[in-house]
């Protein structure tokens, strides 16, 4: 159980809503994952066709909604997107996401910090998506962000925790929850992030593109629980040398000869 701002969460797995084959599958996977918070994006309505309604099933499922500012390329656009989302969804929580480069979708640190400062001032609960930069995460925390979301690897890449060393530093130094977001491609990656001490992980692609998203969602649920349990139980120290599990004795020691009984 952990807190972000004024909300308490039992599940440390957050989920995205993108890339699912259809809203029913999305809803089934979300329910199977046990997640209590999902992300979504904002877009201009296409009046000529009706987009799939994802909002109704999510509201019915009773999960917390975290709109993102995906699509924004500047702080100004992100602030605008956040305010639109606040109006549309009735929440002042926002995942601040500014990634202008379409090839790697790397978050822009400068625009993100600028936008974070404005949105915190405007009363938002800001969860910024950033590279695993310990200095940036500290600056965002100082600006009033209620959590930080450093990446494991590029969005949708399924590469896993490529930023391990820096996530360790961020986790050590953060005074707000650390949610590892992006690049988690397998339950083992999620467990790895949790074993490092992350407070939560956000997974989207790995669940949505799986052949069986509902089963994958369950697998992630278990992995996140296992990883957190292991972290809390206390992982053994890592050594470059072997350390034997039983005393170092030769198996067939030469015994002193027995004297024959008289």
């Amino acid at each position: 159980m952990f807190k972000i701002a004024d909300k308490t969460f039992q599940s440390r797995l957050f989920s995205g809503t993108g890339k699912f084959a259809n809203p029913q599958l999305m809803t089934d996977a979300i329910l199977a994952s046990g997640t209590e918070l999902v992300t979504m994006a904002m877009k201009r309505v296409d009046l000529n066709r009706s987009d799939d309604d994802i909002l109704s099933p999510l509201v019915q499922a009773g999960v917390n909604l975290l709109p993102n500012t995906s699509g924004a390329c500047t702080a100004e656009e992100a602030v605008f997107a956040a305010r639109l989302a606040r109006e549309a969804l009735g929440t002042h929580w926002v995942k601040l996401e500014i990634h202008p480069d379409p090839k790697y979708l790397m978050p822009d640190p400068i625009e993100t910090l600028k936008a974070a400062e404005q949105l915190v001032q405007d009363g938002f609960v800001v969860l910024p998506y950033v590279h695993a930069d310990p200095v940036l995460c500290k600056r965002l925390e100082q600006a009033g962000c209620q959590a930080v979301m450093p990446l494991g690897a590029p969005i949708g890449s399924n590469k896993g925790i490529r930023t391990r060393d820096f996530l360790e530093i961020i986790i050590e130094q953060a005074n707000v929850p650390v949610i590892v977001d992006a690049g988690i491609g397998a339950p083992s990656h999620a467990a790895e992030a949790m074993e490092l001490g992350a407070d939560a992980v956000l997974v989207n692609t790995a669940i949505a593109v799986s052949t069986n998203p509902v089963a994958m969602a369950k697998a992630f649920k278990q992995a996140v629980e296992a990883g957190r349990m292991a972290y809390e139980a206390g992982l053994g120290a890592v050594s470059s040398q072997a350390i034997a599990s039983s005393p170092l004795t030769a198996f067939l020691d030469s015994q002193p000869e027995e004297t024959e009984s008289a």
Binding site: G16, T17, G18, K19, F20, P23, M26, T39, M40, A41, M42, K43, R44, V45, D46, L47, D51, D52, D53, I54, L55, L65, P67, N68, S70, F80, R83, L84, A85, E87, A88, L89, I155, G156, A182, L202, N204, T205
Partner: protein, 66 residues
């Protein structure tokens, strides 16, 4: 009067409120955000905000995303 909605030209009655426009478009009033000339109109002001000639209306809603 002529206004644009998400970049497309649209003929609307004069003195149309935002609420009336949405109803006319047969669009769900829930889960939607509206900006007129880049100013976001809060839901509480939809009934009282009247559109004018040349207004650029932008309509947004939540979609799937990570």
């Amino acid at each position: 009067m002529k206004i644009t909605i998400n970049g497309k030209s649209h003929n609307a009655d004069a003195q149309l409120s935002v609420t009336e426009l949405l109803t006319e478009l047969e669009h769900d009033l829930a889960g939607v955000a509206i900006a007129v000339n880049q100013n976001i109109i809060p839901q509480t002001e939809w009934l009282t905000t009247l559109l004018e000639e040349g207004d650029e209306v932008a309509l947004f809603r939540a979609i799937a995303g990570g």
